[in-house]
């Protein structure tokens, strides 16, 4: 008895206190809302171009607190899609009641929200009073059912919302709100967390030209990436993992759209204006030096006005098409990634892991066909000569400030030390096979499969590489490095 009273009292007081606190905390300070950060290239655009781009992206993707599900993208937003069907024979329907058919898995429950997708009521919502899975009948809380053939969705976007929740709790502080790999923790991590916005992911099971599959993302989330700060989220519920995979893909597509549109609009950026101006100044100087009559240098504001007018024209004529084709391009690419044909399957089973196979693999490793050693080093320690060179930035003659290799995100990159037994993309032979076959996307690790190496040869290299962690340090030994020579053996 006393226990009962005590516990009721405790719970009650707890809830009253919570309510008071919530009231106080929400009332006092304006709530800052999370934002998808924009790329530098976007903020660099002139005002009109920038707002057009931002409007396009916002219209189709929304903000973190108000997500938009863009149907033309191959993202599973969750929910059930259905069509209003003809009433079954012999059934009298009340005004709010209708029969339906639906595609795919899932169950319609009372309290769920119906979103009408076509017909007069398109865009409007209604709440379900009751739903019968057996007879396929739904009755609404209020309002009348629309005509037969109207399409609708129930709980549309649920999965995306769930993905956002899971992402917010587990991923955001490294990968950032926009998936830009620039969350608050990111700056302290080596390697940097992935920036999804190029649509490029390193460890995939797909061909070198294809994007990442849902399975790849699933595996990375479930098993983590050893040797990095990406931990294993093995015990995340499966439906949460599925949702966050979709959310990550969605963020990647959002980033890609922004990036590609931005690339289309580079003519209307501050940088481009400055370039034009500088060029004009230079040509004027050159003309003066040559004694010619110099052309007048246009002022920055006139350049800006020209660009503004140009953009206006562009916006009226081509912009919509550009958005359309970019979206199509992105959708196609991401759809193709999940096509089984894009997944690499070795043509032959693993070549038996014999000393002979390893020896063949070693020769390949050290051969000029593969040039593995240039990066991974003669002994596989990831210290090849390439790590000492200065490399040019992609698409330019300018070189990186730091020695060694860089990835497409501009981060310095160490070739893997193959003797640690650490396999970032997974330790199954097939994983290592795929790394060699298709390369590692976004990095200088090239694809060897199909062109350079036959599948059997890839397996030989796999066998050699996977034997390295168990080899004694001494064998097989090429010339000892200078450091080793400096310390005489005792």
């Amino acid at each position: 008895m006393i226990r009962m009273i005590m516990s009721r009292f405790l719970i009650k007081s707890a809830w009253i206190a919570v309510a008071c606190l919530a009231a106080v905390s929400t009332g006092c300070v304006p709530n800052p809302s999370a934002e998808f950060a924009w790329r530098d290239s976007t903020t660099d655009l002139i005002k009109d171009a920038r707002s057009s781009l931002q409007n396009t992206v916002n219209e189709n993707f929304g903000t973190p607190d108000d997500l938009v599900a863009w149907e033309r993208l191959p993202v599973n937003y969750g929910g059930i899609k259905g069509t209003v069907a003809a009433a079954p024979e012999g059934t009298e329907l009340t005004p709010g009641e209708f029969a339906f058919s639906h595609e795919g898995e899932g169950e319609v429950k009372p309290g769920d929200t119906v979103l009408w997708l076509s017909g007069e009521m398109a865009g409007k919502e209604a709440t379900i009073q009751s739903a019968d899975a057996a007879t396929h009948l739904i009755s609404l809380k209020a309002g009348t059912a629309p005509a037969e053939g109207t399409t609708f969705a129930v709980n549309f976007g649920d999965q995306l919302q769930l993905g956002r929740m899971v992402y917010m709790k587990n991923c955001l502080h490294c990968h950032g709100v926009a998936g830009d790999g620039a969350g608050p923790t990111a700056q302290y991590l080596n390697p940097r967390p992935r920036d999804y916005r190029l649509g490029v992911f390193k460890f995939t099971e797909t061909l070198a030209t294809e994007r990442v599959t849902r399975d790849d993302l699933w595996r990375v989330i479930k098993y983590g990436i050893p040797g990095t700060y990406m931990p294993s989220f093995l015990l995340l519920d499966d439906h949460e993992t599925t949702a966050v995979v979709e959310y990550v893909r969605w963020l990647a597509m959002r980033g890609e759209l922004e990036k590609r549109l931005g690339d289309e609009l580079t003519d209307y950026s501050q940088t481009s204006l400055t370039d034009q101006y500088n060029k004009a100044v230079e040509s004027k100087k050159a003309a003066e030096a040559a004694g010619d009559k110099p052309e007048a240098v246009p002022s920055m504001s006139s350049l800006r006005n020209t660009a503004k007018d140009d953009f206006k024209e562009y916006a009226e004529s081509d912009y919509a098409d550009t958005v359309d084709s970019t979206a199509d391009f992105i959708a196609e690419n991401w759809t193709r990634a999940d096509d089984p044909a894009s997944v690499i399957h070795p043509a032959v089973a693993r070549v038996a892991d014999t000393p002979e196979s390893r020896a063949r693999g070693r020769l390949l490793y050290l051969s000029d066909r593969t040039k593995c050693y240039t990066c991974h080093g003669n002994t596989g320690r990831g210290n090849g000569g390439a790590t000492e060179d200065f490399w040019p930035k992609p698409g330019s003659t300018e070189k990186y400030d730091a020695r060694g290799l860089h990835d497409v995100w501009g981060n310095p990159l160490q070739p893997r030390n193959l003797r640690l037994g650490q396999y970032r993309g997974g330790r199954r032979p097939v994983d290592v096979f795929r790394r060699i076959y298709a390369g590692i996307k976004g990095t200088p690790m090239p694809a060897f499969g199909g062109t350079v190496l036959k599948d059997e040869e890839v397996w030989d290299v796999v066998n050699y590489v996977m034997s390295l962690p168990f080899e004694s340090d001494a064998s097989p030994s090429p010339a000892p490095s200078t450091k080793m020579a400096a310390h005489p053996v005792q």
Partner: protein, 612 residues
Amino acid sequence: MSTLTPSIEHGGEHDDHAHGHGHHAEPHSLSLLWALPTFSKDHKVIGLQFLITTLLMLMVGGALALGVRWQLAFPWQRMPILGDMAFAAEGGQIAPETYTMLVTMHASVMIFLVIIPILAGAFGNFLIPLQIGADDMAFPTLNMLSYWFMWPAIACFATSFFFGGGPASGWTSYPLLSALWEAAPGSGMAQNFWLLGLTLVGVSSMMGSVNYMTTIINMRAPGMTLFRMPLTIWSMFITAILQAFALPVLTAAGFMVMADRTLGTCFFIPSGIVVNNAAPTVGGGQPLLWQHLFWFYSHPAVYIMLLPAMGMVSDMMACMCRKPIFGYKPMVYSMAAIAGLGFIVWGHHMFTSGMNPALGMTFMVSTIMIALPSAIKTFNWLGTLWGGRLQFNTVMLNSIAFVSMFVIGGLSGIFMAAVPVDIYIHDTYFIVAHFHYVLFGATLFGVFGAVQFWFPKMFGRMMNETLGKIHFVLTFIGFNCTFFPMHLLGVAGFPRRYADPYHFPYLEHLLPLNQFMTCAAILMGIAQFILLFNFFSSMFIGKKCGRNPWGANGLEWQTPSPPGHGNFDVPPVCYHGPYEYSSPLCHDKDFLPQTEYVPLEQRVAIANATPH
């Protein structure tokens, strides 16, 4: 003889003309306050400097604690102020390293900038010369420096917030988290500043403790024998000894970890460790060494954070019961026992650390036995209360709260001392509950009482009684609602220092309880503004009082309020122990000041008259 005893009227209410007495002009009631911004060498000014600094730091530490509580109640929701300022782009959702920073800095601020300096620094400084009848500390310049070394320490701690999100390896700073720059965002420059701050706090404490020992040994007034010293002095004396012996170890350990970080030594770093893909360590060191060194200081430090409060509560309680302390000598001996045993129990922080398991047994026995002197003290406090004429004022309430909370804190310690049980509750919220009951429940309530009790001596005015009681009740309720449920969380296996415990299914259902605790913590936080208001406003509008408003026996009550430079207008002579309340020797009143001489014939007459 009567010429040696200044004729002072007792009892604050009818003491309006006290300033007419003595050879000195009475100092202005705010004379200590005006001296605050100076490099004064007067122990009272330094005590007050410490007191006000630590009270402000208490608010800082409390704010950090509320940040921790907020995250535990509303994980990954917008955090007011901090979240809005630093994480606007994330919608005010803090990063996990910020949470570990909050945990670390809450503990660091509370321990090193509040509890230790408020006890030894503030009350030690203010009370030691007054209670032993000295005109100042033995080394006034050293004393002044001990306060001003706090500021570089505070500056170091403050600076550390600006690197990598602040130090985040816990106040215990276990290597390798604290030894390797790459181990965490806060393990870089932030950790260096934290270690520097720690060292400076240590220097400050060390200067204080040397001074206290010398002063207490050498500068007692005539007649103030060791066993006539108030328990406050005993506790300060024992604390000073603890500090003098334990602190060098921490300082050395701090330098060692600093050397590991900056000079390339490897005291604590084993070989072949890779964090954040930095180069592997060359090593040869042993991380457990830090734990031994750290806890060799930090366990005695627990008593440094408790003993002075025990002493002050004994003083206050005897006065508010109008009764001698029960078992004065057992009180002294048990404090000495706590201090002695305190040096051989540090291993109980390391039961699960992988140290030699045989050590676990010896440390368990010594740890459990340290409960004995604590129990004796508790029984003696109950004995003191028994049969007293209890004055239920703020001082008394805080003192009783001290005992009551200390009982809970002490008893929960037994669970942790039993090694097998500790395997389970180690590093869960059970330990968080335990040390908050001791450090907040006991020490801080003791401090709240002491502030109220000795405030009149500092400013010649009383603190407001009603506000004091409101503050006490709110704090007491808020405290218990915040920390008692932590025992239960601990039993449920709720680990410490988790930014988000609720994604573990076995902890999911504890969210509502945590929200309740956070509400209570906020209530408690707000209540501290009452204390601050009461403290600062009473300096100006408090009821004026004379030298001895409480009718207490100690020497400090024979001086003007506040005492002028040099404290006593007549060099005091001590004739009795400090707790002769309600003695038959004091006929017309119920207390017998230590300076009051009772002629022999009178004593004989009274002894004869008293039936045995």
